[in-house]
Each structure stands twice: as structure tokens, then as C-alpha cells.
Amino acid sequence: MEAGDFQKLAVKQYPPRSIRETAEGKFWKSFGSPVLTQHVGPVSTIDFSPAAPYDFAVTSSTRVILYDSALRKPKKTITRFRDIAYSGTFRPDGQLVVAGGETGIVQVFDPGSRAVLRQMKGHSRAVHFARYAPDKTHIASGGDDATVRYWDSPAQAQLLCLEGHTDYVRCGAVSPANGDMWATGSYDHTLRLWDVRAGASVLRLDHGQPIEALAFFPSGGLLVSAGGNYLNVWDILAGGRLLRRVSNHQKTITSVALATPRGATFAGGAAAPRLLSGSLDGHVKVYDINDFKVTHASRYPAPVLSLGVSPNCTTLAVGMTSGLLSIRTQEGSRRATAAPVGRGGRGMLGLRPKARKRQRQQLQPGTYRYFLRGQAEDAPAGALVLPRDRAPRLAAHDKLLRRFQYREALDAALHGGRPEVVVSVMEDLVARHGLCSALAGRDAAALQPLLAFLVRYAVHPRYARLLLRVAHKVLDLYAPTLGRAPQVDTQMELLRERVLVEVRLQQSLHALQGLLQPIIAASISAGT
């Protein structure tokens, strides 16, 4: 250190608290904070359009709301339902929307004009599942009348009525490998695989619990069914062998989705396929599909009823029983997708800036610009460049420590809100024998942040050794003034509670240690 230089406060560094972060965790953390929308009723279905720009349909109460994925705002609302609507889903090219409903009618809408194009009547009770086949002309639907029906959409005619389920049919999916193979799940705990060419059930699998959701793996060989608080993964090609049972939720799993990005152009391992499940316990969990271990979990404020992932894996929409819809978008991707849209919009409005060539202004001597000229230019190659003698940038607490203003320095650190900085400042003050003077002589307003900090961190294992002593000193200093400022009294009470909780924890840990010690001793003696 050269004489005259001020040494910045060395802020203590601690090892990261959590275990090493996985790539998966990083990927899901890159999804920004959610955009929350309140709907009238529970959000029962979320379906992303398979075609770009991946708009999505949200079914809630008597409406199907079409969301713009870029703006994350409702674009159209289809309200042509007499009763509660279910299962609003897009046709594979995204041009039409089909929805079931409490009335038992399967309806086809034009998302642009919101007009009802087709109505297919046949179900005697509510239809909870309706979906287009990949050939874009057929629709499969399942309802509470325990039947699965197969429709010809252009002709508005029922082709098949598949019977076999003995309870409500609640979900279904078409095999990505073969557009004629459909899987449906029912509350009779079974999952049936239908071949519409034969018009009959070819496979029946027992899940063990009422099935709430189904999803095919992209290969079409594996099928995952959700019911109760577990997922079952079935190997269809092996004749319906149960491959794995995954149980990570506390309550019924209501939705399951497979995120299978097609274009591997995104950062952070977005190309890997993932399995997501949402449950009534309010969690959405992400599984690695190799070993079905949870790689990421996130919590939502209400029981999760539905979830959807955009086909490019950049938008995650979660619907809840309270009618709340949460939309999260990956940060980098949003900018990438939003930019062309915006530019196009401006172009249409005629506001696109002209590619005007800026003429170089002739500088007038005597103007301010004239004196600033040439400062932004780079030095030519080979020129001797002298670095500018800049004063080092100092944090607020450093500046105050340099001026020996100890109390202000502590206040600045407290204001910054980083506990390691506060603790480092306190230790530096101890080394200067200035901590007591920095703590003393505060009024209620100045004491407030210090007490709040102590309440939060005094029993934290990293800082407790120093902060407990500081808390003692603060109590010694300010105990006589108790009862004068209500805010201070509240904080003191909070501090007391925190310490009590910690003491109880320590006692239970001691008890546990006492229990373990004989066991460990016995194991050691047995080992030797």
C-alpha cells in the first residue's frame, strides 16, 4: 500500500449458502418475475398455440381468453358460452380454437372474429376434454358421460362414440407418433388408449387414482399420467409397462406438461426436454426426464390447476384455483421476440425512422462542443496512452470512514442493506475502537434501522458472534429509554422473540445431540 492511499473496507466474503446451482435451476431462474392477471373463475386449462408467435388460450369460468404471448395481455375473449367452458385448445396450425363446456356442446371458434364456426352436440353431460387431431379435421372429446367421441369438424358430424370408461373422462392426448392413437384418462382410475381406425380401446392401464392429466412424450413411446399426488410414466411400446412412479407433491397433481423446444437456439440448455407438473399444493415442479428427479420447484400463491409451456420453452403460464394467472417469460428471449414485433408495428404506423444520413456539423470555435471535440476518439495505434488519474470509486460507508464519521458510516452500511457490509463496517469500527460511539447517542428514528438489522441478523450463525455482543451493547445503551418510542419498543419485542425462538432451537439441537452421542459412541466402539 502506498502512503496516502485510502484502503477500501474489505467486505467479508462468505461461501455461497445454497448447494451448487444446477443449470436447470439457472434456466428457470432466468424467467423473470411473473405478470399476474386475475380472472373470474378458476383457470382450468391453458393451451399454447403450436404455431408462432405462440399465443395461448386460457379457459376460465364462461370464457376462453386468447393471450398475446409477446405482450402477455389478453388479445381476444370468447364469451359465447352459456355455462362454464372447459378445455379451450388450439388447432395444430393455430387457426381455430375448440372448447368444451358444462353444457356438453363442443364448439369451434375463429380466434380472430370470435365467431362460432361449428357446434357438435352429442355429449349428454359436461365436456372436460376437447382437442383437434393433428390432421386438423378431426376432434376428440371426452365428457362426464364417460364417453369419448370422435368428430369430423368440417362436416360437424360425430364419427365415433368410444365407450369403455366407467367414470368421468377428464383428460386426453393424441400420440405425437400416430395421429390416430388417442389416450384418455378418467376418474375410474384407468387410462385407455384408443385407435380411432379400429374404433376401439387397444390398451387399458390402471393408474390407481382418478386421473387428472395426461401427456405424451415427444417420441410417443412414453406416456405420463397424473392423478392423486403422483405421476405414472408408462412405456406404451412395451405394452403399457409402468416405468416409474414419481411422487413429489403433497396434494393432487392437476396438470402436467412436457416442454419440448424444437429449435435449439436458446441459451442455458433450453433445448433439453423437461417435464412439469402442477399441484393443488401450490407448487410447480420440473423434472429431468432421464431420472425423473426434481431439478427445480417454484411456489405459487394458490393451488395450481393448470399450466402450459410455450413450444419454444420461453413462456410459462400457470393458472390457479383463485382465478390468478401467472405468466413468466425468459428474460433474454422476450427481448428477442418482442423486438421484431415492435419494429413491424412502427413500420405499419409509418413511424419507422428514415435512414437519414446525419451530416457532420461544422464546429464553431468558441462553442462548448468545440472544446469537447475529439475527446471520444480512440487513440491511434502505437500512440503512448497515459491512463487518466481517476480517484477510486468509494462506497458511502468508505467515504464516511475516511472522514472518521463512524456513526454515519454505520448508518450508510445499514441503509445499503447488505449484512456482510454492515458486519465488516462494525469489525472495522472495533479495530478503530469506534463502535461504541457509533452505537451510542441515537434517537428513535436513528435507532430504528439498527434494531431492524439486529432483529433480522442477530441470531444468524454467520454474524451471531459479533452481532449478539452488539445487541447486548445496544440493550445496555437504550434499555433506560424503553417505553418512550413505540416503534423502538416493537423492535425490541421482535428481537426478544427472535432470540427466544433461537434459544428454543438451540435447546432442541442440544437434546438431539444428546440422543445422537451414545449412538455414535456405540458405533465407534463397535467399529473398533
Binding site: M1, E2, A3, G4, D5, F6, Q7, A10, Q13, P15, P16, R20, L401, R402, F404, M426, E427, D428, L429, V430, A431, R432, H433, G434, L435, C436, R465, L466, R469, V470, K473
Partner: protein
């Protein structure tokens, strides 16, 4: 005999620049060191004085940027005069490094100025008249003008044996280097056993006179003629620094509350008085203006000093002509009004005038009776003003003090500029020929050259820093100096939690490492110490790639004490050390030792909490970026022995065993498996506990020191093969150093003859209360396998000294042996001149193999040159073949135990070492290697 090899204080006296500004002359003990200002490198050492050099005056001056020689010939261009406590003034050629002549004054000189020696007109006007501030003993005959006592050197050579003219001295004085001649006035010479002159810390020479009362005198001395011109200018309580003005018009000093000023033309004295003790004074280069710093931190500036008396003199001279008198009074009055107009500082007179009733203070705040027109006061320093100097043009005053802040005052306006954080309290400031450059002597033994235009330190001459203060309330003390094994550099703890890496062979600082990065902060009150952070332990790995330190912080009101264990890895690019791992609170109680494995990467800490921990490197699981090291240190295992507090640990030299001292028991642990091998009491009483254990290199011996309440301290050598005590002494070992290249070791023991109550002879100190008294001691070297001491030296100042074995100097191809180095408390490095000879040690090894068959003891140990002659006064080679034979006989005959053996010490007294010797136990050859 030990001689100083390095270190030494550079900042006891102000540095003096050469007129061309290229060199800087520094008083360092008895020598003058010539350094280059541009590089900071040492160019020359001028040796010759026999006591501390206190002042240097340089002949030659600068005019208009060109150097003009001060005298007739060009040879005088590089001449300097130095004054010393040995009572002589010597003239040197500081470029060629030769001593030109010696002038004897006869009194210990504290300070010297030669007004006008830096100015051609001055030299012409005043000649080489020196003003000296000397120690004067009561009852001594008053100094008189004497005849010439100048002796020209026959050969202008530094290393010249002096001619003996004084009282007969013992023979070995003849090999003292550069002893000057002509000491026909009996100047009390004080030397310690090493032949080095004693210089007390405060510069007071040791007095052994009749009543011992001493005071200071200021006298005038003609250097050219070598005679005292004016024997008595003033008497002071003790001699202080003399200051002269740049053009040579004024000379001054201070005494308690008074400033004394003489005009060099007629030696007329002016006294200025103040209410606080004065600490230093400075003169304006061209005007009759005097500035003084006091103990409360105020800077006072008197204007027109001596003008009143001039006026009255002229009045008397011109009393016949009344109009002249009136005219003169008018001039004086107007001049004084002019001064009042420009004194813009806070006038001290105005607030006080009311209280004092205008009786003590005259106009402008000057005391009545003081001969000055006005007084202004500047106050910024919180503590005493440490240094004060005017700039060359007189426009600025520079001051410094305890706060380690260099303050630049504008004389006209009192506006301040600061250069804070100079690193340590400022002791002296000296102007350089370059008007923007100043040399600042700081307390941390550094001379920093400050450019006042850019307010930056441009160059630093760094000596060995002083030892850090020990905090009173905590058990943490700094570690003893250690040696960096790779390059053989000395690593010393220094203040502000810094390690100083010092190259002993080149006598300069090699590097610096701040263990706990903190800014220097001055203590809040004067005299209060702020120890802050102490590096209590430090150790290197065998290849010096890893440095391990423990730093401890003194708590403030029980808040925030903390130990911190740090692992530093050597960086290949910069060869500095970079922090790798920090472990907060490695133990719950104080850490007592820190050792590193001799070959593997493994460190062990022991603590009073009863645990020892083994630290090894492992993959860094918490690295968040590629910039962080991929390897971090972690605790591999924790061991304890019956929850005894552990005070020491050592690896055996091959690294297979770890010895840990647990109370009075020595426990041995397998370093690989971590299992306890055995626990054996090394013959200690239960009250004692082992406080230090070391392993002798290349042998199967452990050396322990132990002490305890109610038990006598012990030094024990323990044989690992026989698992028994090999030999032991009852010795209070202060320091223990192991030779890393042989099985030798050295211990420092305090002189048991000196009782704390008995005041040392002639060491009466006024105001010396509380200062740690210097105790004498002995440094004794042993071979681990033999109780016979190899050699011993007496050390005058043993308190706080430490021992270190240095590897041989890189250039010296012939010797492979380590050199023993003694670092005194004042951080002076001394090296015993006698080498421990390997061959002779081997002889004693044979002797050890068959202790029962010793018929005629061989010349077992090194005696060194001259030891066969009569008893050396200063060096005590435990010259006791007889007594060792005696010792051997006794331990062989009387049931293997002896209790008292006699060692003659250096002063012919009897120095009793009590010890005992145990037979090697029968269950020998228990192999652990």
C-alpha cells in the same frame, strides 16, 4: 562477539540531503548511511563513530540551479560533518566514503548546526562556526576555549585502526572498527558485551558520574580550528535539536516552554515564551520569523523576532540625535502595524487578553517582555506537533505528528493542504534542494520523499519496521521473526497487521504483506495505543509456496474479538502472496501454535480449547467463478487429548510424527492416519506444562521447554528412539530457535543474576517510569543430543530479542551452515561473529554415543578465534572444558543425576545452571521412523 549486520533506526535523527539532491545522509546508530534519493538504494556506509551519530551538516550549496562548491577546492563538494554522542565531530567525503578528519569536543553532542555552511555569503560571513547542543554533567569543569585538537587522518580510509591515546583498555578493543583517535578527554564510553556502544532509546548516554545529574548546554565551536569559541550560550534541562535558518541569520533551540534564538552575527539571544511545552521550532528562510510547535498541537509563529532590541540598540547608539530616535520609533511602529495586518491566523492574544488583564500579553498576542511584533497561532493537530519546517521560499510551513498526516500551511493565509495516511506518525521533515520535495521521517522507520506539488510519495527508504505494540487486554502477542525458506528472507511482524519481508543480505525491505487490510488510524487520545489487529502466528511451507497466518483483533468493550486463520498461496507471476482461504474462528479459544508439515501440504493449529486441527487443501466447492482459486484449505481432522489445553505442536523433521504438548504430557500422533501413537510424560511435574516443542533437524530428538506455577522452568531434550528424556536443564527459556539445516538449536535466557529489583548501575532515569527495563541475557547454542553447550554469548539487551537461523548468504559458497541472527527489541539485527563449526560438533556427537566411557573429554565444541586466550570480557564462550568435564563426571558417577553444575560466566562471576541428567531408559530402540 556479535556485530550489527542490519536493521537499525533510520529515523532517530533528521535525514540530510546532499546539495545536489541526489543523495540523502541518514544517521543510523553509530554509522551514517548514504542513500540514493532516486532509487532509495543504499550507496555507502560511513563507519567511524563509536556512539550514536546525532547530527550531520553538509558543506556545499546550490545557487540558481547550479551546484557551487562550498570551499576552495572541488574536493570539498562532497563533504559532510557529523556529530555524535561519543563527543567527536568527524568530517567525511560522503561520495568516496572516506573520513577526512576528527575533531574532539569532549561532550556528548546531541545536535549540531553550522549556520551559513550551505551558503557562500554565509560561509564568508560566519566561517565554520558550529553551534552544538551537548550533554553536560554537573560538577564537570566548565568548558573553556581550548587549543586545537584536530587530527588529520593520515590515510583517508574508513576502516582504520585508531591510535590508542586514552586509558588502557582491554585487548579486544583493538579490533573495533574505525575507532577514532584522540580521545584524551575521558568521554564515558558505554558498550555492551558485543563491543557495541550503548545508545539508550532517548539518546541519553548512560551516566555513571558522581551524582549523575545532567543537563544540556549550547556552545559554539570552531570546526576549522577545533576549539570552543563560546563555552556557554545557554543552559537547558536537556539538550534539544538546534535549528538554523536557511541564510544563516538565526540559530535556535528550545527548552521546556521557552524558545531560544541567537543571531549568528553577534550571538545576541532572544527568548520567546509560551504556556505549553515546546516540541520543535523552525525558522523562516529569509525573515526573522520563528515558528514553534507545542505539545498541544498548536503551531505558533512569531514575527520580527529581535526587532525591538535592534531598535533599542540603535536608540542607544544614536541617543545624541533626537530626530533620528523619533524617526526610528516611527519606523518601528509602522512596521509593526504592517505585521499585524498580515497575521491572519487566530491571534492568541485576543481571547486571552481579557483574562490575563493585559498584563502578561502585549500587542499582537506576544507576551510582555518577548521581543517580537506579533504572534499567530494555527491549530489543526490533535496531538503534539511532531515535526515542523519552512519551505525554501518561506511561503509554506509543513508540519506532522501522531496523526500521520502531513499538513501544508500557507504562511500568509493559514490555508491548509493535507497528505493523510503517511503510514506512521511523523518524526522529522527535512527540505530537499528541489523545492517541491521533502523528506519525511516516519515512526515506522521509513523516510518518505514527498512531492508537495502532486502531494504524492515519490520514493521510500524503508528500514526494518518497529515491533508492533502488544495489546494489554488480550493474550495475543506477535510472533517472533521467522525465515522464508525459499529465499532466506526474514519475515517480521510489523504494526498494522503487516508482515515485513526483509532481505538481510542486501539490508533492505523485499516485500510487504498486509494480513488484515486496514488503514492506519491514529489513537483517539495521545499516548493511547491502538493495537487493533495482531498477527499472532505465521509459518511457511517448506517450499514457501504457502503462508499461513493467524490474526487476532483486540475487542472493544468485549465486542468483536476474533481470530482469523488465513492461508496464502504464492503467486508465480508476482512472487507475492494471495489470500486463498480465510477461516473465521478456527478455534473457540486462543490459538497457541501453528506449524506446517516439513514436506506435505498440511498445517496444524493447537488451541487452549483442547483441540488441535489438521488443515489440508481440497477442491474448492464454493468457487463461483474461474478467477477464484480451485483449491481451498479445510479442516481435515480434529484431535484432543483428555481435553487438556494444548500449547504447542511440532512435526518431526521427516514429517512422520506430530508431537503435541498437552499439559505436562507429550503426545505423539501419526500424521498419515491421525491416530495417537503414544503419550508420555517427559519427566515434568504435574504443575508444569509444555509450552514449546521443536524437532531437531535430521535427528531423533525433540526439544521441549516447560514452565508452570510453583515449578521450575525446564529445557528438555527428548530422545524419540529411546522414548525418554535425554538431558534437561532448569532454565527459563525466553526464545528457542531451531537450525533448519542441522540438529543445533539456540536458546535465549535472561540473566538470572539480575533481579528485577536491583536497578542497573548508573541507569537512573528521570521520567523513565514504566519503560521496560533492559535485562541482559545469554544466547546459548546446543546440539540436540548433547547437554554441553556449544557456545554462548552475553546480550546486553535481551528483553524482547528473538533468535533466527538464517540460511547461508547466496554468494558465500564455502559455508553451508546456517547463521544465527539475533533480532533485538529495537529491530536491530546482530550476528554473532563466531560460526558454529560442523566438524567440531561431530566430535561431540561421538562423545554422546558413549556417555559412560568418556575418559578424556575431547575439545568438544567450538570456541572460535581468541577464545583460548584469557576470559573475554564481552563474549562468554562457556569456556568451560573443565566444568563440562566436571559435569560429565558428575552425571556419570552420581546415580545419573546431578543438580548443580558450575558454569563460569563472562564476568568471572559464577553463573549457576541447575539441571539433571537421566540415564537412557532400557526400553530403547522403539522405532518410529
Amino acid at each position: 562477539m556479535a556485530m550489527a549486520t542490519g536493521g537499525g533506526r533510520l529515523v532517530s535523527h533528521p535525514p540530510v540531503p546532499s546539495p545536489d539532491g541526489k543523495r540523502c545522509l541518514i544517521c543510523s546508530g553509530t554509522t551514517i548511511r548514504v542513500h540514493s534519493v532516486a532509487t532509495g538504494e543504499q550507496l555507502l556506509i560511513l563507519q567511524g563513530h563509536s556512539a550514536a551519530v546525532t547530527a550531520i551538516v553538509i558543506e556545499g550549496f546550490k545557487l540558481g540551479g547550479n551546484l557551487v562548491e562550498g570551499g576552495q577546492g572541488a574536493g570539498e563538494l562532497s563533504q559532510a560533518w557529523s556529530a555524535s554522542l561519543d563527543g567527536t565531530i568527524r568530517q567525511w567525503d560522503y561520495v568516496r566514503g572516506s573520513m577526512l578528519r576528527t575533531v574532539t569536543v569532549g561532550y556528548p553532542i546531541k545536535s549540531m548546526v553550522v549556520p551559513g555552511l550551505g551558503d557562500r555569503r554565509g560561509l564568508a560571513a560566519y566561517g565554520r562556526n558550529a553551534y552544538l547542543s551537548v550533554w553536560w554533567k554537573h560538577g564537570q569543569e566548565p568548558p573553556q576555549a581550548r587549543g586545537p585538537s584536530v587530527k588529520l587522518q593520515k590515510k583517508p580510509k574508513v576502516k582504520k585502526k585508531g591510535k590508542k591515546t586514552g586509558a588502557p583498555e582491554s585487548k579486544d578493543d583493538s579490533n573495533r572498527e574505525g575507532m577514532g583517535d584522540g580521545s584524551h578527554i575521558s568521554v564515558p564510553e558505554h558498550r555492551d558485551a558485543e563491543g557495541n556502544p550503548v545508545e539508550p532509546e532517548d539518546g541519553k548516554p548512560v551516566v555513571s558520574g558522581s551524582d549523575g545529574r545532567r543537563s544540556g548546554r549550547v556552545l559554539q565551536f570552531d570546526l576549522a580550528k577545533g576549539e570552543i569559541v563560546l563555552p556557554f550560550l545557554a543552559r537547558t534541562n536537556e539538550p534539544h535539536h538546534l535549528v538554523d535558518s536557511l541564510r544563516g541569520g538565526l540559530v535556535g533551540t528550545y527548552d521546556q516552554h521557552t524558545v531560544l534564538v541567537w543571531r549568528t552575527a553577534d550571538n545576541k539571544e532572544v527568548r520567546l515564551h509560551h504556556t505549553k511545552p515546546i516540541r520543535n521550532i523552525a525558522f523562516h528562510p529569509s525573515e526573522t520569523m520563528v515558528a514553534a510547535g507545542d505539545a498541544s498541537g498548536r503551531i505558533l509563529a512569531w514575527y520580527d523576532v529581535g526587532a525591538l532590541r535592534d531598535a533599542s540598540d540603535q536608540d542607544q547608539a544614536a541617543s545624541t540625535s533626537a530626530p533620528d530616535k523619533a524617526l526610528h520609533r516611527r519606523i518601528l511602529r509602522e512596521g509593526r502595524a504592517g505585521f499585524e495586518g498580515r497575521t491572519s491566523g487566530q491571534l492568541i492574544g485576543s481571547p486571552r487578553a481579557g483574562g490575563a488583564g493585559n498584563t502578561r500579553f502585549g500587542k499582537g498576542g506576544v507576551r510582555l517582555g518577548d521581543d517580537a511584533s506579533a504572534l499567530s497561532t494555527w491549530h489543526w493537530h490533535a496531538n503534539a506537533v511532531g515535526a515542523l519546517v519552512f519551505s525554501e521560499d518561506g511561503a509554506y510551513v509543513l508540519s506532522g505528528g501522531e496523526e500521520a498526516v502531513l499538513v501544508l500551511w500557507q504562511v500568509e493565509t493559514g490555508v491548509k493542504q493535507f497528505l493523510p495516511r503517511m503510514g506512521a506518525p511523523i518524526r522529522y521533515i527535512a527540505g530537499m534542494p528541489d523545492p517541491t520535495l521533502f523528506a519525511v521521517s516516519c515512526q515506522d522507520n521509513a523516510i518518505r520523499f514527498v512531492n508537495t506539488a502532486s502531494m504524492k510519495v515519490v520514493q521510500t527508504i524503508q528500514g526494518i519496521k518497529p515491533a508492533p505494540a502488544t495489546p494489554k487486554k488480550t493474550p495475543f502477542v506477535s510472533f517472533s521473526p521467522i525465515v522464508e525458506p525459499a529465499e532466506g528472507r526474514l519475515v517480521l511482524p510489523s504494526p498494522n497487521a503487516t508482515l515485513q519481508v526483509y532481505d538481510v543480505f542486501r539490508d533492505r525491505q523485499a516485500a510487504e504483506l498486509q494480513v488484515a487490510p486496514r488503514n492506519f488510524t491514529a489513537p483517539p487520545k495521545q499516548g493511547q495505543e491502538l493495537p487493533a489487529v495482531v498477527v499472532s502466528h505465521a509459518t511457511f511451507s517448506a517450499d514457501a509456496s504457502v503462508l499461513v497466518t493467524i490474526d487476532a483483533m483486540e475487542p472493544e468493550e468485549n465486542i468483536g474479538s476474533g481470530l482469523c486463520l488465513k492461508f496464502w498461496e504464492k503467486e508465480a507471476s508476482t512472487s507475492g502472496y494471495r489470500l486463498n482461504t480465510r477461516v473465521d474462528e478456527p478455534h473457540t479459544a486462543a490459538v497457541t501454535s501453528l506449524v506446517f508439515h516439513p514436506s506435505a501440504r498440511m498445517a496444524v493449529t493447537t488451541s487452549l480449547d483442547g483441540d488441535f486441527k489438521v488443515w489440508v487443501p481440497g477442491p474448492n466447492s464454493s468457487a463461483r467463478s474461474a478467477a477464484e482459486p480451485s483449491v481451498s484449505w479445510r479442516c481435515r481432522s480434529v484431535g484432543s487429548y483428555r481435553s487438556e489445553p494444548l500449547r504447542c505442536a511440532a512435526f518431526t523433521w521427516d514429517g512422520s510424527l506430530l508431537a503435541v504438548g498437552a499439559g505436562e504430557t507429550l503426545t505423539l500422533w501419526n500424521t498419515v492416519s491421525g491416530g495417537l501413537m503414544c503419550a508420555l510424560p517427559p519427566g515434568l511435574s504435574p504443575d508444569q506444562s509444555i509450552i514449546r516443542v521443536e524437532s531437531a533437524h535430521g535427528s531423533h530428538f525433540l526439544v521441549l521447554t516447560a514452565r508452570g506455577k510453583g515449578a521450575r522452568p525446564m529445557l528438555v531434550a527428548w530422545n524419540l528412539l529411546t522414548m525418554s528424556v535425554w538431558w534437561a536443564y532448569h532454565l527459563q527459556v525466553k526464545e528457542l530457535a531451531m537450525d533448519p539445516r542441522s540438529s543445533r538449536f539456540a536458546v535465549l535466557i535472561l540473566d538470572p543474576e539480575e533481579r528485577p529489583k536491583a536497578a542497573p548501575v548508573g541507569r537512573k532515569k528521570a521520567g523513565g517510569k514504566g519503560r521496560p527495563r533492559e535485562r541482559a541475557g545469554y544466547v546459548v547454542a546446543f546440539e540436540a543430543h548433547s547437554p554441553t553447550p556449544l557456545v554462548a554469548w552475553r546480550l546486553q539487551k535481551a528483553g524482547g530479542a528473538s533468535l533466527v537461523f538464517l540460511p547461508p548468504a547466496p554468494g558465500s559458497g564455502k559455508s553451508r551452515d546456517s547463521q544465527l541472527l539475533i533480532a533485538t527489541r529495537d529491530r536491530e539485527l546482530r550476528q554473532p561473529r563466531v560460526r558454529l563449526d560442523t566438524k567440531q560438533s561431530m566430535g561431540s556427537c561421538r562423545q554422546q554415543n558413549s556417555p559412560h566411557k568418556v575418559e578424556k573429554p575431547q575439545r568438544a565444541w567450538a570456541c572460535g578465534p581468541g577464545a583460548s586466550s584469557s576470559v573475554d570480557r564481552r563474549t562468554c564462550y562457556l569456556r568451560s572444558q573443565e566444568s563440562c568435564q566436571h559435569l560429565w563426571r558428575r552425571c556419570c558417577s552420581k546415580d545419573k543425576i546431578f543438580d548443580r553444575s558450575l558454569f563460569p560466566d563472562c564476568f568471572g562471576r559464577v553463573f549457576v545452571i541447575t539441571g539433571y541428567f537421566l540415564e537412557p531408559s532400557s526400553r530403547a530402540q522403539q522405532t518410529f521412523f
